[in-house]
């Protein structure tokens, strides 16, 4: 992938895509307002601009969460601190003009992925049809995942996560593997984000205002370390996130369905080494993004103070 259009951290490129995947619109114009509306929670003005752009009709129609008529006692939260609008724009639009603002490419190499056994898939019989584009080949009945594609997808996913974390979005780690439940929760805690590695109650996302109380804020990104639940079926959260217009990042193994996941990462999700690698990468990206945000804000403060004087 050589070309990096100045939108949401890179387009799809030449990767073959599985049919029927719900994705945001592929080609959009260069301005900052073309981000998927989800990232502009705190910016109703920019939101309206985005709406008028060429977004898929479905996405616009099925987005009640944002233009919510659900009773929320608090008004739309203003960004923390009373910074003037011009600076806001600069803080939020500047990262979008770089293809890899947070330099996530440096965090991992192909050799790291290979050593962590990310390329090992399940047996041929377990293969999911929609995962065929991501599979390099099959040796002695075991599928091998194409690590070049994994690199690209991983870079996209990490970049997206970094942008979400930069804007103060809520990230929810989901995994239903008992083996890695503790690890995932510790990772989430270390980043200052949230985790859900337990039994998923039906209405957590779709019925949140009744389950949690009015005015609750839903997660802005869901990260799946394991897409399947304990009965080897796709996790309910994938479908619910798609319903609620929440983007998802997920590690898909050869027996998983990558359809509804916004940024799939084809890779092994069963080996402890692989899962530890993913956790480490996500943790580093999120911390990096948050640090960068703090730095930028501090720089802005200093500049404004200098100007004010």
């Amino acid at each position: 992938m050589e070309r990096y259009p100045a939108t949401k951290g890179g387009g799809r490129g030449a990767t073959a895509t599985a049919p029927g995947r719900a994705r945001p619109a592929p080609q959009e114009a260069e301005s900052a307002a073309d981000l998927p509306p989800l990232l502009l929670l705190h910016r109703p003005r920019a939101l309206r601009r985005a709406r008028s752009m060429a977004l898929p009709r479905l996405l616009r129609a099925a987005a009640p969460r944002l233009y919510s008529t659900v009773p929320a006692p608090a008004p739309a939260p203003a960004p923390a601190g009373n910074r003037p609008r011009a600076d806001d724009d600069k803080l939020l639009t500047e990262p979008l003009s770089h293809p890899d603002f947070f330099s996530v490419k440096e965090l991992f190499t192909l050799k790291d992925l290979f050593d962590a056994r990310v390329h090992l898939g399940h047996k041929k019989g377990c293969r999911h049809r929609f995962m065929e584009p991501y599979i390099f080949g099959c040796r002695l009945d075991q599928d091998i995942i194409d690590l070049d594609q994994t690199m690209q997808h991983l870079q996209l996913a990490l970049n997206f996560t970094a942008h979400v974390a930069y804007r103060g979005g809520i990230i929810l780690f989901v995994s239903r593997r008992r083996q890695f439940c503790h690890l995932v929760e510790s990772t989430a805690r270390a980043c200052g984000e949230y985790a859900h590695t337990r039994y998923w109650q039906g209405g957590l996302l779709t019925n949140a205002h009744i389950q949690f109380g009015p005015g609750v804020r839903l997660p802005d990104l869901l990260i799946f370390l394991n897409t399947l639940n304990n009965v080897f079926e796709p996790h309910v959260a994938i479908r619910d996130a798609a319903k609620m217009n929440i983007p998802t990042v997920g590690v898909v193994d050869t027996n998983c369905n990558p359809c509804l996941i916004t940024y799939p990462i084809p890779g092994n999700d069963d080996s402890p080494a692989a899962v530890e690698l993913y956790c480490k990468l996500f943790r580093m990206t999120i911390i990096r993004a948050k640090d960068k945000r703090r730095q930028s804000e501090a720089v802005e403060e200093l500049q404004r103070k200098a100007q004010g004087k």
């Binding site: 923390a80 809520i170 503790h182 989430a188 949230y194 859900h196 949690f212 005015g215």
Partner: protein, 353 residues
């Protein structure tokens, strides 16, 4: 007219306050569901309570400043006398913090981000508890083997106690999983921190087995050793005083047993403990008995005398007596009659038509 309407207004206000506050007398588990009592609501209730307290003090002709909770209770009992038996059903006026169960406040900050990292699971306190316990289990690398926990004298928290601790509803499955995790942690070699953590969830059980104390012999003015015992059977209650160095004379309610118990069976019952121990002619006995019938009184005296004889005898023989059934209270009493039947067991005569 003015004064009357004012009083009426106060009464109505007071009534309102009292009616609303009696409603919530349920089991004190906070947050069963999303926020039921917002902070604003509780504040308003507190204001109303304070206002009502002053009105009440004025009504009773006392000083509003020094009107304590006991005065309130007395005033309410005077103004609203109630003959209801259940104390919780009577009108009451208490501070709202005592009435409304403790609830969890809003779980997220100004920017909408929740405070707890497991907020989106729905049961954050319970799952964070599981997380911490699992952390102890995983990090357990101790080689030392300190298993000096007194497992016999302690029990785990019950489900209700856990709910009160977490302020969250806990299902049966969740509770059993938590207890299993604690038990697993308890079996591992534990260090000090883990001991303290486990102690938070275990409670002392007072030892239920109390050894029966055999009273020592007492001596009367003449220097003769004696001992007392009490016994009961059906509705009969008996006390027996057994004297040492006796000739085998037994008196019941001041009457000799030959006259009190004309039937041989009853006299045999009385003598059974002595015959069992081989001390027939060696003790005197003075008994008092009341209630029951002929046979019941005999059984009661038998038990009383056996209990008294324990003081004269070795521990081995006490054990023999216990195994012979001399020291056990006979639990059989008259069974009640049931409706639809003629007696406790007898049904009415069945008629084909």
């Amino acid at each position: 007219g003015n004064h009357r309407s004012l009083a009426c207004g106060k009464c109505v206000h007071l009534k309102l306050l009292i009616c609303t506050t009696t409603a919530v007398q349920k089991r004190n588990v906070g947050a069963s569901g999303p926020e039921k009592y917002t902070e604003a609501f509780i504040k308003k209730q507190i204001e109303e309570f304070n206002l009502g307290k002053r009105h009440l003090a004025n009504m009773m002709g006392e000083d509003p400043e020094t009107f304590t909770q006991e005065d309130i209770d007395r005033a309410i009992a005077y103004l609203f006398p109630s003959g209801l038996f259940d104390k919780r059903a009577r009108p009451l006026m208490k501070h709202p913090t005592e009435v409304f169960p403790e609830q969890r406040k809003i779980q997220w900050g100004e920017d909408g981000r929740p405070f707890h990292f497991l907020f989106y699971t729905g049961k954050q306190s319970y799952y964070s508890l599981m997380h911490v316990s699992m952390l102890f289990v995983i990090n357990n690398k101790n080689i030392c083997d300190i298993l000096n926990r007194n497992l016999a004298g302690s029990r785990w928290l019950t489900k209700i106690e856990l709910e009160e601790m977490l302020l969250e509803k806990v299902s049966d499955n969740d509770y059993s999983r938590f207890i299993q995790l604690l038990q697993k942690l308890a079996t591992l070699p534990c260090a000090d921190i883990e001991e303290k953590y486990i102690q938070k969830f275990s409670k002392e059980v007072p030892a239920q087995l109390q050894k029966v104390v055999i009273e020592p012999l007492q001596h009367d003015e003449r220097g003769v050793a004696f001992s007392t015992g009490e016994g009961k059977r059906k509705t009969a209650r008996a006390t027996a005083v057994v004297y040492d160095n006796g000739t085998g004379r037994i008196t019941v309610n001041g009457i000799d047993i030959l006259h009190y118990f004309p039937v041989l069976q009853d006299r045999e019952q009385l003598l059974f403990p002595f015959q069992f121990l081989g001390r027939i002619g060696k003790h005197d006995m003075v008994c008092t008995v009341s209630g029951g019938g002929r046979s019941a009184q005999a059984g009661a005296i038998r038990l009383a005398s056996a209990k008294a004889l324990r003081s004269f005898v070795t521990e081995k023989e006490v054990e023999f007596m216990r195994q012979a059934g001399l020291l056990t209270v006979d639990p059989r009493v008259k069974e009640r009659k049931k409706p639809g039947q003629e007696g406790p067991r007898r049904k009415f005569t069945w008629k084909k038509r």
